[in-house]
């Protein structure tokens, strides 16, 4: 899709520290998703107010904010998962590569094949590891032979850093893996259909620190070829892995900026209060 990001762009993946200046200076890739004046409603309740945001390609964009601030709602707007919730409604435009994903002639199902999603709780399907990965390619008939599918499964597992652990048990249930492995399985499953964007809804909140470190390393590797949007409750995580951070409060996008800038020199007092823990 595009050339790998320069090495200087790399952030140490475990320790919480102020991002290196190189990170802030790195030029960002062009916008992949353009969110324009988005309002979202659940029934009569408005969950998002006039959100405008550019989400760049080949980068990690983190959504932070307190519970109920709308960050997960926006994430679920991006692949039209809100369509599955009765009474949910979205106004405004969400352009992916210039095309409004909500326009009348676009099928939500085809949007979701371009935009993968990883959930807070690992959600492997109750089938073998192989079948989990093969689910997307089979559903969308991406491969024409068994050998091709085998190769795609291996490639996806390798990209998700799960191949070494899983290669001898591909026919065993995905539910037999540990929590962290299950989450990597879900990431591999999403990668198998080569999505342009991967959305992650607090992917590490059910995992221990070691598994979290694995996933963060993985995110750092994947984002070189993919646009990643991650919702996280951990500001440390946002600082470690993202290039852009967007801070939400009460359904509004308060501030979005390159991660280094937002955490070291936020423009608004409200952001300052939140990232320093003085939040209401």
């Amino acid at each position: 899709m595009s050339e790998p990001a320069p090495q200087s762009d790399r952030i140490p993946s475990i320790a919480l520290r102020a991002p290196a200046p190189a990170n802030a200076a790195a030029p960002l890739s062009p916008t992949r998703i353009d969110v324009r004046n988005v309002n979202a409603f659940y029934g009569a309740k408005q969950a998002l107010f006039d959100v405008n945001l550019h989400i760049p390609d080949n980068a990690v964009t983190a959504f932070i904010g307190a519970s109920g601030c709308g960050k997960s709602t926006l994430l679920r707007c991006l692949n039209r998962m809100n369509d599955t919730i009765p009474g949910a409604r979205v106004d405004g435009q969400i352009l992916m590569d210039g095309v409004d994903i909500n326009s009348a002639d676009i099928d939500a199902v085809s949007v979701r094949t371009r935009i993968g999603m990883v959930f807070q709780k690992p959600s492997p399907f109750p089938m073998s590891i192989y079948d989990n990965i093969a689910y997307g390619p089979r559903t969308h008939k991406l491969t024409s032979s068994k050998a091709e599918l085998d190769e795609l499964v291996e490639r996806s597992l390798r990209r998700a850093a799960l191949w070494e652990e899983a290669k001898d048990r591909l026919d065993k249930s995905g539910l037999g893996l540990s929590g962290g492995q299950q989450q990597r399985l879900c990431i591999a499953r999403a990668l198998a259909v080569s999505p342009a964007v991967i959305l992650m809804d607090e992917p590490c909140s059910a995992l221990d620190p070691v598994a979290t470190a694995h996933i963060e390393q993985l995110i750092e590797d994947i984002r070189k070829h993919t646009c990643i949007v991650i919702v996280t409750h951990s500001m440390a995580q946002a600082a470690r892995i993202s290039q852009i951070t967007a801070f939400f409060n009460m359904g509004q996008l308060i501030e979005s900026a390159p991660t280094a800038d937002l955490f070291t020199a936020p423009k608004l007092e409200q952001t300052q209060d939140y990232i320093t823990g003085r939040f209401g």
């Binding site: 998962m81 599955t84 709780k121 959600s123 492997p124 399907f125 109750p126 559903t139 259909v193």
Partner: protein, 322 residues
Amino acid sequence: MMETTAAKSLIGTRKPHLADTSFHISLFVAGAIVVVVLASILLIMFLGGRQAFETFGIGFIWSTEWNPVTSIYGALPAITGTLITALLAIVIAWPIGFGIAFFLTEICPRALRAPLGIAIELLAAIPSIVYGMWGFFVLAPFMSESVQPWLTEVFAWIPPLGDSFFWFSAPPLGVGLMTASLVLAVMILPFIAATTRDVMLSTPQLLKDGAYAMGATRWESLTGVVIPAVRGSLFGAVFLGLGRALGETMAVVFVIGNATRMPDSLYAPSASIASVVANNFPEAETGSIQLAALLGLGFILFVVSFGVLALARLLLRQERMA
């Protein structure tokens, strides 16, 4: 170490807790009753039917003649009637029950869900004798006048099974195997629908969301992810219905025709184990071979039903281990 005064005050406080002990014992008794009742019923059926097994040998099970006049008793006609009606009822009720359940959980507008759910539960609340009367006065004439002649016309080409079972090529009598199966199907439908609905409602939303997020349609998510995940429980729903159909008596007596001989078509008046026992029990004299044969039939039904349930359990367990 020195014992402090506070610690010393604990010494000698141990005393029997009467309420606890008696509660413990009564719970133990409650648990034991189940096993005792089950074992004693099985034993009584077996002892009562032993004479039949002694007289006719193990061939009692597959002997095809049931003749109270000559005192020759074979169980196969009743067993055949039972199995055919129960299986046919499942074949009819299973797809409809699944359809109802999937409609309720996936498609039905929210406002309609509760009323429809209640309607299904009411179907289960109708006493079986009412089903029997409805079957006899409404369904049987309708079958005899409209459905069976039509089925004969359409399916007459099907070759007979062996040289004695002619499927749909028979006089349309109304009462018989097919009508009994239909009544049974209506009776077990609510069980299958309600159990399937509960299974579908208990599947985690995360599983569906996971499939949707992979770009699966509603159909693909249902057939590719959700149903495989709960396959065992769905079979459990079917076996629950099968177990009920096997033992159902009153409604079947009304519509099966009560002819204890091997059926020669799906329209044939026949008999099930339960209907044979219900029809003949009042006349069977104490100590007679007829009574023994009826109790022997009861024993067989017990074993078959038990086997069906055990199979259902086994399926569910395999599911969990996988």
